[in-house]
């Protein structure tokens, strides 16, 4: 049984179709990344999965439970972990107090000391929340997300505002949780984050999923023409090369769908003439290329997030 299955999900606010027929599945233990511009329907989709928002149509099962069914809401929520974009922590309690309080809401919480260690706040365990830096508060937020030992963890832009070291720490944590069997659904604006963490990626635009698959092959980026880039050796002009290249200055590139042959010619030529070729790379579309292509470069196509205007289940 998949951890999450969504079929034909629809949610409208007035005339705006925030989510317009979205379908996907997330297997247990998988890391699933939902990408898309602001207002594309990511947050609405996730809030429906969390049982925080009602849907208009579609079939949704989260850990075998219909999140729209309020009778099983508590059973569902005791197995969910949620990390929100807001820094939502009481300022005057200590890190340990906040985690201990929330641990008490769950039937089988993770030991608080272990959580503090996992998010790297051991030295700040007894500090008041308001004395933490922004990055530390963010990590405490993640700690609150995992203290209930969830089977399914939602991470809404988990590393926004973190420095590179903090981001790496968070990535390690996500990998570790996934390794323990926790299913993770995350949203992010960082393509390298999706590429580093996700087993499956879905790109959502204007309420529809426009691409879905493993990040390495999303949108057919593993097929089609490749780009070979390298630095021209000193004393060599593009005319000396055995192939036609484009580029300005010493950095040149060529696009080809026969990259193996092109590389063979280039390296044979370099060895015969005893010149050093540096900075050699071969690449296909980056995930970002695919993303920008699929979501449209025109920012006006997407409306700003109207989700927060809409009524929430009360």
């Amino acid at each position: 049984m998949p951890a999450v299955s969504v079929r034909g999900l629809v949610r409208s606010y007035g005339k705006v179709h925030a989510v317009d027929g979205v379908s996907f599945e997330v297997e247990a233990g998988e890391v699933f990344a939902l990408l898309g511009p602001n207002g594309a329907g990511k947050t609405t989709t996730i809030e429906i999965l969390e049982g925080f928002r009602d849907r208009d149509a579609g079939e949704v099962r989260v850990l075998g439970i219909d999140p729209g069914d309020r009778r099983s809401g508590q059973r569902l929520r005791s197995q969910l972990g949620v990390v929100l974009q807001e820094l939502a922590v009481e300022p005057f309690l200590s890190v340990r107090q906040v985690l201990e309080r929330n641990a008490g809401y769950y039937p089988a919480p993770r030991p608080v000391g272990e959580v503090i260690g996992l998010v790297g706040l051991t030295e700040k365990a007894d500090a008041k929340v308001k004395t933490l830096s922004g990055g530390q508060q963010r990590r405490l937020d993640v700690g609150l997300g995992i203290v209930g030992n969830p089977a399914l963890l939602f991470l809404d832009e988990p590393t926004t505002g973190l420095d590179p070291a903090g981001r790496r720490t968070s990535w390690e944590l996500v990998r570790r949780l996934a390794g323990e069997g926790t299913t993770v659904i995350l949203t992010t604006h960082y393509m390298e984050e999706a590429e580093a963490l996700a087993d499956q990626v879905a790109i959502i635009a204007s309420g529809k999923i426009v691409a879905h698959g493993p990040p390495a092959s999303l949108g057919g980026r593993d097929q089609g023409a490749a780009t070979i880039r390298f630095q021209l050796p000193t004393g060599v002009t593009p005319d000396d090369l055995p192939m036609t290249v484009t580029g300005n200055g010493r950095s040149v590139e060529l696009r080809t769908d026969r990259e193996l042959e092109a590389l063979y010619e280039l390296t044979r030529w370099a060895l015969e003439h005893e010149v050093r070729v540096t900075g050699l790379t071969v690449s296909r579309h980056t995930l970002e290329d695919v993303y920008l292509q699929l979501t449209g470069a025109d920012p006006d196509r997407f409306q700003t997030d109207s989700a927060s205007e809409a009524p929430v289940r009360g």
């Binding site: 247990a28 233990g29 998988e30 969390e50 925080f52 850990l63 075998g64 508590q74 059973r75 929520r77 005791s78 197995q79 969910l80 949620v82 929100l84 974009q85 807001e86 820094l87 939502a88 922590v89 009481e90 300022p91 005057f92 309690l93 107090q97 309080r101 929330n102 008490g104 809401y105 769950y106 039937p107 089988a108 008041k128 609150l144 209930g148 089977a151 996934a178 390794g179 323990e180 069997g181 926790t182 700003t304 997030d305 927060s308 205007e309 009524p311 929430v312 009360g314």
Partner: protein, 271 residues
């Protein structure tokens, strides 16, 4: 990749949920008292008012109110004020802040049952209000030699009036929070509404019945609440109950609870 089977969780027993309430009230209290400036301001403001006004009242008497000492009006008046400040003013502001910072959303997404959370917030608010009441009763008794509610009927009446009033003004506070769009507006909007109504309701000086202000203020719950508290301080022999005033306060509370129930939001409203 290992996977985890779905755990079958039994529902919590009522006793376990009650324990959850007690625990949550504990953390609410901790959160309140660990913010010393907020705590001193909330609890101390009413006390400061009472001390200043009580001292300046000296031995003045109110000729149109059975010629009682003015301070005999101020002590119950500021006890009522303290309860209203905690349950209307502070609660409305803190709920807006919790909503807009995402605290309410996070709690809503945790398995803590909603009723447990709301009950804990109400109980915690009442506890803070009662701390103020006890302080002011002590000041009234020892600093101003005021006649306190006495006997089982007087003390019983005071408790009932404070609990029903506290809950009603808490409902008004929750309803008020649903009308406030953002964190920045919470303090100014709530305090303006509160202090204008306090002025109209004669907290600083007892209203002469039949006067224009007295007629306006009969519509709002504040004057009725002050009167209901005041009556519990009456001389032995006179009735400590003012059922009519208490009823109007409770009606406001019930209407506010209905508004709060319909309009309550968990998610931040900021765009």
């Amino acid at each position: 990749m290992s996977t985890r089977g779905e755990s079958i969780l039994p529902r919590r027993s009522p006793l376990a949920e009650l324990r959850l309430v007690v625990r949550q009230v504990g953390y609410e209290q901790l959160s309140f008292w660990l913010n010393p400036i907020g705590a001193i301001f909330t609890v101390g403001f009413a006390l400061l008012f009472l001390l200043m006004l009580g001292a300046s009242a000296g031995s003045s008497r109110v000729s149109y109110l059975h010629n009682i000492k003015l301070v005999q009006y101020y002590v119950p008046g500021f006890i009522a004020y303290g309860v209203m400040a905690a349950s209307f003013n502070s609660l409305a502001i803190s709920l807006v802040i919790r909503r807009e910072t995402g605290l309410l959303k996070r709690l809503r997404l945790s398995p803590l049952p909603t009723w447990t959370l709301l009950t804990s917030i109400l109980l915690s608010t009442l506890l803070i209000a009662f701390a103020e009441v006890v302080l002011m009763l002590a000041v009234g008794r020892w600093a101003f030699a005021v006649q306190l509610p006495s006997g089982p009927s007087g003390i019983g009446a005071l408790l009932v009036v404070l609990i029903l009033g506290g809950l009603s003004f808490a409902a008004l506070g929750i309803a008020m929070s649903t009308l406030i769009p953002n964190q920045q507006a919470a303090g100014p909007l709530t305090s303006t509404v509160f202090f204008v109504l306090l002025f109209l309701s004669g907290l600083w000086f007892p209203l002469k019945s039949g006067s224009a202000l007295a007629n306006i203020s009969t519509f709002f719950p504040i004057r009725h609440f002050i009167t209901a508290v005041f009556r519990t301080f009456s001389h032995p022999g006179a009735s400590a109950w003012s059922g009519h005033d208490l009823l109007i306060v409770v009606i406001w509370g019930v209407v506010a609870a209905a508004v709060a129930f319909r309009r309550f939001q968990w998610a931040p409203r900021h765009t």
